[in-house]
C-alpha cells in the first residue's frame, strides 16, 4: 500500500492557484522530498495531507484514507511538523512533550517510551525543564521535531525540518530521520537544502507554481539532466520549462 497518493490535487486561494493539479505517490518506508522555489506550493501540499487544509479539487490519500472524507483516520497515522511552528510558551519542554504524547495515546507505557525517544532526539539536556519561552529558535525547532517523530507515526510530514538548525544539529536530525524511516516510518518532507535532500531522500519531486515538473531519485534526475548535483538539476529544470526562479 502507498503511504501517500495524490491525484490531480488543486488548491486555490481566490485567484491564486497555490497547488495546480499535482500527482505523486510516496511508497511505504520511503523518504520523499518536495523541492521548489518559494511560493511553489510545497507547504500547501503538505498542509492538505496533514488535514489542515481541504483540497479545492482532486484527491489525496494517506494509507488509503481520503484526507477530505476521513480526516480522523488520517490524523491517527500521521504527525505533522509545520514550517513555522511554535510550542506552548508557558510549558516546559518536558511538559510539552508529555502533553503532546497524551493527545496521541492513553497507554502510559507508550507515552513514556515516546517521551524517552523525544528526549534523546531533542537532546536539550537540563534545559528540557526550562520554560519554552526561554528557548532559542533552534532549541524550539529541535523540540518540535522530536515531538513530531516521537510517536513513530506511519507517516511523518515535515515542512523544512532542519530550518534554523546549525550544521551539526541538522546533521544529527537527518540521521535520526533516516534511522526512523528504516524502522518503518514513511516521510514526506520539503526542503531548500539540496545537500539534505541528496543525503536523505529516496525520491524527489520538483514543484513550481503549483505544478510537478519532475519526479525521480536524485541519481535519476542528475543523470537525466547531466548534472553534478541537485542544485544543477533545479536550475536545468527551470531553464527547460522556461520558469523564472
Amino acid at each position: 500500500m502507498k503511504a501517500v497518493e495524490v491525484k490531480n490535487l488543486i488548491k486555490t486561494y481566490g485567484d491564486i492557484r497555490a497547488v495546480d493539479g499535482i500527482d505523486f505517490d510516496v511508497n511505504e518506508n520511503e523518504i520523499f522530498a518536495l523541492i521548489g522555489p518559494n511560493g511553489a506550493g510545497k507547504s500547501t501540499t503538505l498542509r492538505i495531507l496533514a488535514t489542515i487544509l481541504t483540497p479545492s479539487s482532486g484527491e489525496a490519500f494517506v494509507y488509503g484514507n481520503n484526507v477530505r472524507k476521513d480526516p480522523d483516520s488520517v490524523r491517527k497515522l500521521i504527525s505533522y511538523l509545520p514550517e513555522e511552528a511554535g510550542a506552548y510558551k508557558a510549558l516546559s519542554g518536558m511538559a510539552y512533550l508529555k502533553f503532546m504524547a497524551d493527545l496521541y495515546t492513553d497507554d502510559s507505557k507508550k507515552k513514556t517510551e515516546a517521551v524517552e525517544v523525544a528526549l534523546r532526539i531533542a537532546n536539550l539536556g537540563n534545559r528540557i525543564k526550562d520554560k519554552i519561552k526561554n528557548y532559542s529558535k533552534g532549541m524550539t525547532r529541535k523540540l518540535l521535531l522530536a515531538r513530531a517523530v516521537m510517536m513513530k507515526p506511519k507517516l511523518a510530514i515535515l515542512d523544512e525540518p532542519t530550518s534554523g538548525l546549525d550544521v551539526i544539529n541538522a546533521m544529527e536530525i537527518r540521521k535520526i530521520i533516516r534511522d526512523l524511516s528504516r524502522q518503518g516510518m514513511s516521510v514526506l518532507l520539503s526542503s531548500h537544502n539540496m545537500l539534505e535532500i541528496e543525503f536523505l531522500s529516496d525520491r524527489v519531486g520538483l514543484i513550481h507554481r503549483g505544478k510537478m515538473y519532475e519526479i525521480g531519485t536524485a541519481e535519476e534526475l542528475k543523470k537525466e539532466h547531466n548534472a553534478k548535483n541537485l542544485e544543477e538539476v533545479f536550475m536545468a529544470t527551470a531553464a527547460i520549462n522556461r520558469i523564472s526562479l
Binding site: 489542515i52 513555522e84 511554535g86 510550542a87 502533553f99 503532546m100 493527545l103 492513553d106 518540535l144
Partner: protein, 431 residues
C-alpha cells in the same frame, strides 16, 4: 474523555499567565487596602469626636444642650470664658472638627419664645466623604437640640398635650403592592431590601461575561500567534473536544477571576459601611415574605440557569469572534462588539426602570441575548416566570447556534483563513 481534561488543564495553564494574574492580584490588594483605610476612618469617627463649646449662658438650658451634643457622640470641651479666637486656634491645632458658642441670655430668650442663635464653626481640612459626614453628624445634633427645646416649649404653652402629636398631626401608614400582593411596609424599605439583595448579581454577571469573552478570544488568538494551532489540529483529538476544552477552561477561569474580584470588592464594601449588614427587623422581614419578594429555591434555580446560559452564549460567541483574530492584541478588539452588547443591558437595567421604556427600545433590549440574565432577578421577584423561561430559551438557542458555528469554523480550514480585512475606512469579513 481523558484527552478532554488534558486539554482543559493545558488551556487553564495557558490562561493563568503572570500578565493575567498580576493585575488581578493588584486590584484585589488595592481594594483591600482602600477598604482597610476607610474602615479605620469609619471606626475613628465612631469614637466620640472632640468638640469645643463656649457656654456663655451657664444655664440649665445650655446644660441640656451640651448633654444632647454628648449623646450625639461628641466629647465636648466646655469653656465659660469668651475667648473665641484663642479656642478656635486651639481647636485647629488639636485637629478638632468644630466649635459651638452658646450666647449669653440663651435660656432667657428661649423661655420668651425668642429665636436664639448658636454659632457653629466647622473647621474643614479636606473635602472627603468622612469630612462631610462629621458636619452632617453635627447638624443632626443641632436638629436634636431643636426637637428637645421645642417639645419643652410646646408642653409649657399647651399643657397636657403631646408635643410630638402636635408637631405631626398627619401620620402615614404605608402599604406596598407587588403584583396581587399587598403588605404594610414602606416603599423605601422594600427597595432598600431589593437593592441589597440584587446589586451584586449584575456586577458578577458583567465581570464573568467580560472576562470569559476576552479569555476565550485570547486563547484562540494566542494559538495562532504562537503557531501552535496547526500542530494541535493535526493530532488525533476530536475537534469538538478542542472547542469544548477552550470553552470550559475560559468559563472556569473567568468564574474564579470574578469570584476573586468580588471578594475584594465585598471586603471594600463592608468596610465602607462599617460592617453593618442588612439585618432586617421582624416586621420588615414578614412584609417582604408576604410580598413574595424573597428568592425561593425555584427562583434560585432559574436565576442560575439564566446566568449559566448567558455565560455559555457569551463564550460561544466570543469563540467565533476570536477566530477572526490573528494575534492576542487583535483578540481584545474582535470581542469589542460583544462588550457593547453586554454593557447596554447592564447599564440600562442598573439605571432605568425597564418597564417604562418605549416598546421599541424594550424589544431591542429583549433582542440582545445578554439582557435576559440581567432582567432575570427583577422578573423573578415580580413572579414573571414566563419572561425568565423565555429568556433562558432564547439564550440556549443562541448558545446552540453559536456553538454549531464555532465547531464548523474549527473543524474546517476556516479557522486559518478567517480574518478581518481592514480596507481604508470600511472593513468587511473575508475568507
Amino acid at each position: 474523555m481523558k484527552k478532554f481534561f488534558i486539554l482543559v488543564k493545558k488551556e487553564i495553564r495557558e490562561l493563568l499567565t503572570p500578565q493575567m494574574l498580576i493585575p488581578l492580584l493588584v486590584v484585589v490588594l488595592i481594594f483591600n487596602f482602600v477598604g482597610k483605610i476607610i474602615g479605620k476612618e469609619v471606626k475613628k469617627s465612631q469614637v466620640p469626636q472632640p468638640i469645643e463649646i463656649i457656654d456663655l449662658d451657664r444655664s440649665a438650658v445650655s446644660q441640656s444642650v451640651i448633654e444632647i451634643i454628648k449623646k450625639s457622640n461628641f466629647a465636648p470641651n466646655v469653656t465659660i470664658e469668651n475667648k473665641k479666637e484663642e479656642i478656635l486656634a486651639q481647636a485647629r491645632q488639636k485637629k478638632e472638627k468644630a466649635m459651638l458658642v452658646i450666647p449669653a441670655g440663651f435660656e432667657k430668650g428661649i423661655k420668651n419664645f425668642e429665636p436664639q442663635k448658636i454659632e457653629v464653626y466647622n473647621i474643614m481640612r479636606n473635602f472627603s466623604v468622612t469630612g462631610s459626614r462629621d458636619a452632617a453628624i453635627l447638624n443632626a445634633a443641632i436638629a436634636a437640640i431643636n426637637e428637645v427645646l421645642s417639645n419643652q416649649l410646646i408642653s409649657q404653652a399647651i399643657l397636657g398635650k403631646d408635643p410630638g402629636q402636635l408637631k405631626r398631626p398627619v401620620l402615614t401608614n404605608e402599604f406596598v403592592m407587588v403584583g396581587e400582593k399587598t403588605a404594610n411596609i414602606s416603599a423605601a424599605a422594600v427597595s432598600g431590601f431589593i437593592a441589597s439583595q440584587t446589586t451584586f448579581i449584575p456586577i458578577i454577571l458583567f465581570l464573568i461575561i467580560v472576562f470569559a469573552s476576552q479569555m476565550i478570544a485570547t486563547s484562540i488568538a494566542s494559538e495562532k500567534e504562537n503557531k501552535t494551532l496547526e500542530t494541535l489540529l493535526s493530532t488525533p483529538v476530536s475537534r469538538k473536544f478542542i472547542v469544548a476544552s477552550k470553552l470550559f477552561a475560559a468559563g472556569f477561569v473567568a468564574l474564579i477571576t470574578a469570584v476573586v474580584y468580588l471578594f475584594g470588592m465585598r471586603n471594600y464594601m463592608t468596610s465602607m459601611t462599617g460592617g453593618s449588614g442588612t439585618n432586617l427587623d421582624g416586621a420588615t422581614k414578614n412584609a417582604i415574605i408576604e410580598l413574595g419578594l424573597q428568592f425561593s429555591t425555584y427562583d434560585y434555580v432559574l436565576l442560575g440557569l439564566s446566568l449559566f446560559f448567558g455565560i455559555l452564549a457569551a463564550l460561544a460567541i466570543s469563540f467565533i469572534l476570536g477566530s477572526f483574530a490573528q494575534d492576542t492584541k487583535s483578540a481584545q478588539g474582535v470581542v469589542a462588539p460583544l462588550m457593547i452588547l453586554i454593557l447596554v443591558p447592564y447599564l440600562l437595567t442598573m439605571l432605568l426602570d425597564f418597564s417604562s421604556l418605549s416598546p421599541l427600545v424594550r424589544n431591542l433590549v429583549y433582542a440582545i441575548p445578554f439582557s435576559h440574565p440581567f432582567l432575570a432577578a427583577p422578573s423573578l421577584l415580580l413572579n414573571q416566570y414566563q419572561n425568565v423561561w423565555l429568556g433562558i430559551g432564547y439564550l440556549a438557542f443562541f448558545f446552540i447556534v453559536a456553538v454549531i458555528i464555532a465547531s464548523k469554523i474549527f473543524s474546517t480550514e476556516r479557522i486559518f483563513t478567517l480574518r478581518l480585512k481592514f480596507k481604508k475606512s470600511n472593513f468587511k469579513i473575508g475568507k
